[in-house]
């Protein structure tokens, strides 16, 4: 007897196919297209490789090797510093975890670009800090120090660290609930080890495998970021990512070929850096194991835990300054060196034809659409898994959601936009879809945990009461999971708001969001208008987070058991 069609084509099958076709396949095709074009094959341009012309053009770019070195150095340094600080700060503040979580949550929503724009003004030679010092120190001119756009990329590293440390701390706090941290800490100390030593010998080796994927994602991001590198990075030459993005924008369409080679170089460089980090961690592990076997107690190290705690406080202070200065500049009329405050305030930048309203509407729509689509895809997969008896995030999907996070965006998007030249896709649709590629993994990862933790007895009870699978999903699961659903959507929203490259490359400059406008305006003469866009860019995700926290609390106000689900 043939099974009915709906039984063969399961929800899991449909949603899996949708995710594969809409998210995973395009990412891979993008890379493959970059690879073909990078080796001289792009039929659209009449280029029929394989040949090495594109590579020759790329290698002939002035300053290419320095750009490669700067990318590698800034990416690896930012990742290592962020990881070290995150471990150090959690070790120093492990008794204040819930406080830490509360402080960091709002900062996580602020996009890189907004932070970078704010930071650039805070630390510039004529910036807020220098203005604060100028009167006291009698500086008549700003100091001659390259504190932004320095050739070593230190400002870029700081900008990346500012954003990645809170992210990695939150990841670490999540991972640390998976190991018996309190008990092992007590056991280690009872054997005469200091806190720092227990972290080094016992906790870090167990936490590292749990946070390895996010750390690698941070590395891939740091090495290939374009918006932050444009604002804070060196200019002559810039980082490899900026150089490749510029090639891509060359009026001569044939520059697409060397740009594709650049995308491949970026990919190889990132893979190499990941290998380095992995190998470095293994070697460090071997040395640590040897030291541990000697029974080194390292009690004196505990006093040094104050260092990461202080550095974290310093970073948070910089973040607050950076965000505050954006708001301040957005209501400034004139503010000149060396005044610590604006001479005149004005709402002109908000009232003028700054275009922020349409940019905000566009950004809001794209974020809403992409996080909504991502949420539906994720729910489809997880619910399909429940029905098929294969719960949670497993199998190929585990690897699939990691893919868009580990590949440099540039490498994927250059290939994809090359393909889009052929397709007649409305720019708005292309952009929303481009955002889904990068929003989906975050939404999926955020939702998979709470979904798997759902008490299965609730389902059985509902089924015993005669509720079918759709009724159980709509009337039991989704309402119970309202808080994590909202938070996953808010996370997706924030990720979408922050996207720069997908909007630029797939929208072909015809879709203006808060992020693309803020980045474009940051290289203009009017800091006030740039500040309006950056303030909105930072504020919008934050408001959505707030709504995601408040809404379930209001809806479930009489349901005590559902209130704690927010974390």
């Amino acid at each position: 007897m043939a099974r009915p069609l709906y039984a063969v084509i399961s929800l899991r099958g449909i949603s899996g196919a949708a995710i594969a076709i809409a998210v995973i396949l395009p990412v891979m095709i993008g890379v493959v297209h970059s690879a073909l074009a990078g080796f001289g094959h792009m039929a659209l341009l009449g280029a029929r490789g394989p040949d090495l012309d594109a590579w020759r053009t790329l290698l002939g770019q002035p300053g290419l090797w320095r750009a490669v070195a700067v990318s590698l150095w800034t990416g690896v340094a930012a990742t290592m510093i962020s990881m070290g600080l995150a471990f150090g700060a959690v070790a120093a503040l492990q008794d204040r975890v819930s406080w830490l979580r509360r402080v960091l949550a709002p900062l996580l929503a602020a996009p890189h670009a907004a932070l970078a724009i704010g930071l650039a003004f805070v630390i510039a030679p004529s910036g807020w800090i220098a203005r604060g010092l100028a009167v006291g120190l009698g500086w008549d001119r700003p100091p001659e120090l390259a504190t932004v756009g320095d050739p070593w990329g230190l400002a870029l590293i700081l900008g990346l660290v500012l954003k990645e440390v809170p992210f990695l701390i939150v990841i670490l706090l999540g991972a640390s609930t998976q190991i018996a941290m309190r008990e092992q800490m007590a056991a280690g100390r009872a054997l005469g080890y200091g806190r720092a030593a227990v972290w080094l010998w016992v906790l870090v080796p167990q936490l590292w495998p749990l946070i390895r994927l996010p750390v690698m994602a941070v590395l891939a991001f740091s090495m290939s970021v374009v918006d932050t590198a444009l604002i804070l990075g060196p200019s002559n030459p810039p980082t490899l990512s900026v150089m490749v993005a510029r090639l891509f924008a060359d009026p001569d369409l044939r520059a697409m070929l060397p740009a594709s080679s650049g995308a491949l170089l970026q990919l190889g460089l990132t893979a190499m850096a990941m290998g380095l980090l992995w190998a470095g961690a293994s070697v460090a592990g071997i040395f640590a194991r040897a030291a541990m076997r000697r029974g080194v107690r390292l009690r004196g190290l505990d006093a040094w835990l104050a260092v990461p705690a202080l550095l974290l406080a310093g970073l948070l202070f910089l973040v607050v300054l950076s965000l505050a200065v954006l708001a301040l500049w957005s209501v400034t009329f004139t503010w000149r060196w060396p005044d610590p405050w604006p001479q005149r305030l004005s709402m002109a930048a908000w009232q003028g034809r700054a275009g922020w309203l349409s940019a905000a509407q566009t950004a809001f729509f794209i974020a809403l659409a992409s996080s909504g689509i991502a949420l539906i895809l994720a729910i489809g997969w997880l619910e399909g898994g429940d029905r098929a008896g294969r719960h949670g995030l497993r199998g190929w999907m585990r690897a699939a959601v990691a893919l868009p996070l580990l590949l440099p965006q540039l490498s994927v998007l250059i290939g994809l936009s090359g393909l889009l030249l052929r397709l007649e896709m409305a720019p708005m649709i292309a952009v929303v879809w481009g955002h889904v590629l990068f929003v989906f993994p975050y939404v999926m990862i955020a939702l998979a945990g709470p979904w798997a933790a759902l008490d299965p007895r609730m389902q059985r009870t509902a089924a015993a009461l005669g509720a079918g699978p759709w009724r159980r999903l709509l009337r039991v699961k989704l309402p119970v999971l309202l808080a994590p659903l909202m938070l996953a959507a808010a996370l997706g929203f924030a990720v979408s708001i922050a996207q720069y490259l997908p909007t630029m490359f797939l929208g072909g400059g015809r879709v203006a969001t808060l992020t693309t406008e803020a980045v474009a305006l940051s290289s203009g003469s009017d800091r006030r208008v740039a500040a309006v866009h950056a303030t909105l860019q930072a504020g919008l995700p934050w408001l959505v987070y707030l709504a995601a926290l408040i809404l379930p609390a209001v809806i479930h106000r009489n349901r005590r058991a559902l209130k704690g689900e927010a974390s």
């Binding site: 100390r189 009872a190 054997l191 167990q206």
Partner: protein
């Protein structure tokens, strides 16, 4: 060697006083027992002595170890070993490395340290299990390994937090005999927390009942 508690008392973050003014002296080789129903604060007492209280708990009274006041020292500086209910072995290390982790740094040299660990394993009846993943050990084996790890650190006193309660009744007797005998042989004071009469009887030392 002796462990002495003088008017020891702990105030919980909610303001409740868990046990009022406890006085107790345990001499070397003796195993004192603390009994009481769950919630009486048995584990909190051990945390207070070992220095493992969470922030928010407040200790009054004093803890002396060989006449030295250790009340205000951090846990790692007190020299008080703890054997926990769940025999907390570090899951990323082999059994031998777990023991090596405990072994006092006073023992120097790769060979000497390996010998010391091998000897401890043999004493605990864990011969040849050094390379094993702790997760593959039985409950009794884990308890014995944890005790050896605690003793290798050369503690001046040992606290035992219901170390036998998670073991199956058949093995319980043997493990208890092994633990108590090993501690007596080490000539250090020990404090055993339990809610089991038989444990207290076997320990043989003074008994404090918390209510």
């Amino acid at each position: 060697m002796s462990l002495k508690l003088s008017r020891l008392s702990v105030r919980a973050p909610d303001g409740a006083t868990l046990f009022a003014g406890l006085d107790l002296t345990v001499v070397a080789g003796e195993v004192a027992t603390v009994t009481g129903p769950s919630g009486a604060g048995k584990s909190t007492l051990l945390d207070a002595i070992g220095g493992h209280l969470s922030p928010g708990f407040h200790v009054t009274g004093r803890v002396f170890l060989d006449g030295r006041d250790v009340t205000d020292l951090p846990a790692e500086a007190r020299g008080i070993g703890v054997m926990f209910q769940q025999a907390v072995l570090f899951p990323h290390l082999s059994v031998a490395d777990n023991l090596a982790f405990g072994l006092s740094p006073a023992i120097r040299g790769r060979l000497a340290r390996r010998m010391a660990v091998a000897e401890a394993l043999a004493q605990a009846g864990l011969d040849g299990m050094g390379a094993r993943d702790p997760a593959t050990l039985s409950g009794g084996q884990r308890a014995r390994a944890a005790l050896m790890r605690t003793l290798l650190a050369d503690p001046k006193a040992v606290l035992l937090d219901e170390p036998f309660s998670a073991l199956d009744p058949g093995r319980r007797h043997d493990i208890r005999e092994f633990v108590l005998a090993t501690i007596r042989r080490s000539r250090i004071p020990a404090l055993l927390v339990t809610h089991d009469r038989q444990d207290a009887d076997a320990a043989g030392g003074p008994v404090v009942a918390l209510t």
